[in-house]
């Protein structure tokens, strides 16, 4: 990402890194205990106060009007310390971008201005699923753009803490539609936080709706089109999160290998350990270049940049799972214990990889686009 840096972006990166070091580092292990420990509400309040939510939205919508690059720098720098806050930002941004890109400016304006608790302006979204496979929720029109929603939606990220959710549902129209739902409204049942592999401080819930009110986002049956409009940005964002986790794991592994001795010498001087570190370094460097390239192409709106972002997310997701597995291995038994950050990074990497649906299905989707003529390189 260094190749992208100008003085302004560099300052932004430094600000985010300082925030992460000051607000996330010390509490990382305790924050990760959620739901068996408290949620890091104070961190969420501070993150909102410094403008980390809705960074890509216009100022009128409480946003910072930043581009893909700034979003990626933000998520990368946070994930280097603790990816949970980055995942909160990712989910909120994904939901809001879908509404915004459907020309839902006014719809958003009222909702993001909600005051009160830290979660009031946050949006929830089932960000680990492909909405096209979501058939559990049905919507019946009740007039004036409002619908009655009944059914279930699994694993709605932030569903237990956000004020609103963007949920996919089926109407009489072909395809699926998105609806904005008030999570404090009647007709909603929210489960306890769903225990998961990683990103514990970015919790998810299962939601049951029985005649709950939902406001249609854009037009009926156009959900896939709206999702497509944000897919490039959000894939780049997911890749940046994987990248940040990789950086944290690599740095911890090198630091430990310099200190830990076995067989009378530092393990970094065992050539097999050093080779594991070298393989981690190669994966990290390649992903760094891939994400930077995706950002650069996005900023210049080069043809096919979205395809590059999809490839970046798929590649970085897989590489981060492999790298963090080695990241534990370098630390041996210590890497498996919660006292070090490595086991959390291993879990978070696996969780991030599942963002936006099943990876092999996303690979097939990428190939479909290539076969339809989108430029790959």
């Amino acid at each position: 990402m260094k190749s992208l840096m100008n003085s302004e972006l560099g300052m932004f990166e430094q600000t985010v890194s300082d925030f992460a070091a000051g607000e996330l580092l010390d509490g990382r292990q305790e924050n990760d205990r959620f739901p068996y420990g408290p949620l890091f509400e104070e961190v969420l309040r501070k993150a909102r106060a410094v403008g980390f939510f809705s960074v890509t939205l216009p100022e009128e919508l409480d946003g910072c009007e930043m581009g893909v690059t700034e979003l990626c720098v933000l998520l990368d720098s946070l994930s280097r310390i603790d990816a949970s806050l980055a995942a909160v930002i990712f989910t909120d941004t994904l939901a809001k971008e879908i509404v915004y890109r459907s020309r839902g400016f006014l719809q958003l304006k009222d909702l993001v201005a909600r005051v009160g608790e830290y979660g009031g302006g946050l949006f929830a979204f089932p960000s680990h699923a492909d909405p096209a496979d979501s058939r559990g929720l049905l919507a019946e029109p009740v007039g004036e753009g409002l619908y009655s929603l009944s059914g279930t939606v699994d694993y709605v990220v932030l569903g237990g803490i956000a004020g609103s959710a963007v949920l996919p549902a089926r109407t009489a129209a072909e395809g699926y539609s998105f609806f904005v739902v008030d999570l404090a409204g009647p007709g909603l049942g929210v489960s306890v936080p769903v225990a998961s592999l990683g990103l514990h401080a970015c919790p998810a819930v299962d939601i049951t709706l029985e005649g709950a009110r939902g406001a249609l986002v854009g037009g009926e049956g156009l959900g896939a089109e709206y999702l497509e409009r944000v897919t490039g940005t959000m894939n780049a964002a997911a890749a940046a999160m994987s990248l940040g986790v990789m950086k944290g794991s690599f740095e911890e592994a090198v630091s430990y290998a310099r200190q830990r001795e076995q067989g009378g010498r530092e393990i970094i001087n065992w050539s097999e350990v050093r080779r594991i570190l070298a393989r981690m370094a190669v994966k990290l460097k390649v992903c760094d270049m891939v994400v930077a390239e995706a950002c650069r192409n996005a900023e210049e709106s080069l043809p096919g940049w979205e395809l590059g972002a999809r490839a970046a997310a798929l590649y970085s997701g897989e590489a981060s799972v492999e790298l963090t597995t080695d990241g534990i291995q370098v630390l041996g038994g210590n890497g498996y214990m919660e006292d070090y950050g490595q086991e959390k990074r291993f879990r978070d990497a696996g969780q991030i990889r599942s963002l936006m649906g099943i990876a092999p299905i996303r690979e097939l989707e990428l190939m479909r686009k290539v076969l339809e003529g989108e430029p790959l390189y």
């Binding site: 680990h128 067989g263 291995q329 599942s354 092999p360």
Partner: protein, 500 residues
């Protein structure tokens, strides 16, 4: 066409015929009853899985999340009630005496439901294997009969192995490394026994065990030549438990710190030390390595079975999900790519299983199990009434002569190529099966997408559990080096191991 002249020399070329034919050689030597026993063992494990493991695996995981100091005594008591802590202890020592290789099959089954619960049982046998590898029949008889008594009176009596120290993990499993290791667990020779000082960490089942096979050193500057193995019992003065580690997975099985502060261990609980080794042909260092190799050749096959089990558990969850979930308008299992992923996972399980089975054949021919697998002795022990064993045979176990005889067989008469074979294959099984375990868990999550990261879908728990398998019983990197040392480097005169 065939000529015996010169065949031996040709067959001894790498890969050596004897290295790759343990299963073939075992066919005629294996007692038929061992096969029936194995079927019985697998059926027992599957019932345990259905009735206890699968219904409770996620609950134990959650309880440990909620309370890091939680100890699953009820699960240990259930396993004790079912006789699992004596099932594979020879009848000579008061156990049920089922054949030792079937322990691996048992472990695969239980680990396919929960590797943590499998450890609650399997790690006890790591302690048993350590005790047995000392071939001190008097101490073996005393400690293992305690376990048998614990089964009768409903108070579980588990055995742990305490070897890892804060500054030495990988080091302590290779004599070439332990000489340079920062070991701190000191056993000082005093009148009537040893005075033990130091800490052990990451001791699986530590807080749940009654006996602890503790490895220490009389000279911390020369651990390779001064290793002692002591049997420490709960309640001995100067012995206490420290903290439990906060692990990512395998949460049902605690990893404990053991603390020794001027803990006096009397001579009758010394399993193995330099004085005892001096009665045998090989050097102290060579005998110590044999003891370690006997333990690891058995325990690494056991970890191979854990790896196979978790690989299978992940495969089964992925198969279940693919059979139920619709993706892109049709069941996931009807996507060609998903069928190929499931086939790959099935292959990983099958090859991992073959690796531990072959290792156990080698252990039966050349290693820890060989005397008990000798057909006449196998059947004698199988059909002799336990009362007769207890009344007539048991007193012999306390005679020095019997210990001397077993050590003659296991230490002096074991050839170098034999322990290279068992040790090399055990390492092969350990790292290939556990790599397969982690790989299958990652494939399961890849196939299941968002559902895969939910704990209630089980696959993510398997992934967390699986990672530890690549680390304990020697990291997979150390095991690769050991395979090189045992089965490759020995034929390359220029090759040096651990001298990078």
């Amino acid at each position: 066409m065939f000529s015996s002249n010169g065949d031996r020399a040709i067959l001894d070329r790498e890969p050596r015929f004897d290295d790759i034919t343990s299963s073939l050689k075992s066919v005629s030597k294996m007692p038929k009853a061992a096969f029936r026993e194995t079927a019985q063992v697998i059926a027992t494990a599957r019932r345990f899985n259905e009735e206890v493991v699968r219904p409770r695996a996620l609950e134990l995981d959650r309880l440990k999340h909620e309370d890091p100091d939680y100890l699953p005594w009820d699960m240990v008591e259930e396993a004790n009630r079912r006789g699992f802590y004596t099932m594979f202890i020879p009848k000579l020592f008061g156990g049920h005496g089922l054949n030792m290789p079937s322990l691996s099959c048992f472990m695969e089954e239980v680990a396919s439901g929960c590797t943590g619960i499998a450890n609650l049982i399997g790690v006890h046998y790591l302690g048993v294997a350590t005790l047995c590898a000392s071939w001190n029949l008097r101490v073996m008889n005393r400690v293992m009969r305690d376990t048998a008594e614990g089964e009768r009176n409903g108070k579980p009596c588990l055995i742990s192995l305490a070897i890892t120290e804060p500054g030495a993990g990988t080091d302590v499993e290779e004599l070439e490394l332990v000489g340079k290791a920062k070991v701190t667990c000191h056993a000082e020779r005093v009148p009537g026994g040893y005075r033990l000082n130091g800490n052990k960490i990451f001791i699986s089942n530590g807080h749940l065990s009654t006996w602890h096979m503790t490895i220490a050193y009389t000279d911390l500057d020369d651990p390779a030549n001064t290793t002692v193995m002591l049997a420490v019992r709960n309640g001995m003065e100067g012995f206490s438990f420290g903290r439990q580690e906060h692990k990512m997975g395998q949460k049902a099985c605690p990893a404990s710190e053991l603390i020794f502060e001027d803990c006096f261990v009397p001579d009758d609980l010394v399993c193995f030390d330099a004085l005892q080794a001096a009665r045998h042909t090989r050097s102290m260092q060579a005998v110590t390595m044999q003891v370690i190799d006997y333990v690891l050749s058995g325990s690494r096959a056991g970890v191979g079975s854990f790896g196979t089990g978790v690989a299978r558990g992940a495969y089964e969850e992925a198969l279940r999900f693919a059979s139920q979930a619709e993706v892109g308008g049709k069941l996931l299992i009807n996507h060609e790519w998903a069928q190929c992923v499931l086939a790959e996972m099935y292959k990983n399980v099958a090859l991992a299983r073959l690796s531990y089975v072959e290792t156990n054949y080698a252990n039966g021919l050349y290693g820890l199990f060989k005397v008990l697998h000798y057909k006449p002795l196998f059947y004698l022990m199988k059909y002799l009434p336990q009362q007769f064993v207890d009344a007539v045979v048991q007193p012999f176990l306390n005679m020095d002569f019997v210990t001397w005889l077993f050590r003659k067989i296991y230490f002096d008469w074991q050839r170098e190529d034999e322990y290279q074979r068992t040790s090399g294959w055990a390492s092969l099984s350990k790292f290939s099966a556990t790599d397969a375990g982690v790989r299958n868990c990652q494939l399961a999550l890849e196939l299941m997408g968002g559902a895969g990261v939910r704990t209630d879908q089980v696959a993510e728990k398997h992934l967390r559990d699986s990672k530890l398998l690549q680390i304990y019983e020697g990291t997979n990197q150390l095991n690769r080096l050991n395979l090189f040392k045992c089965l490759i480097g020995r034929s390359v005169p220029a090759a040096k191991v651990f001298e990078d």
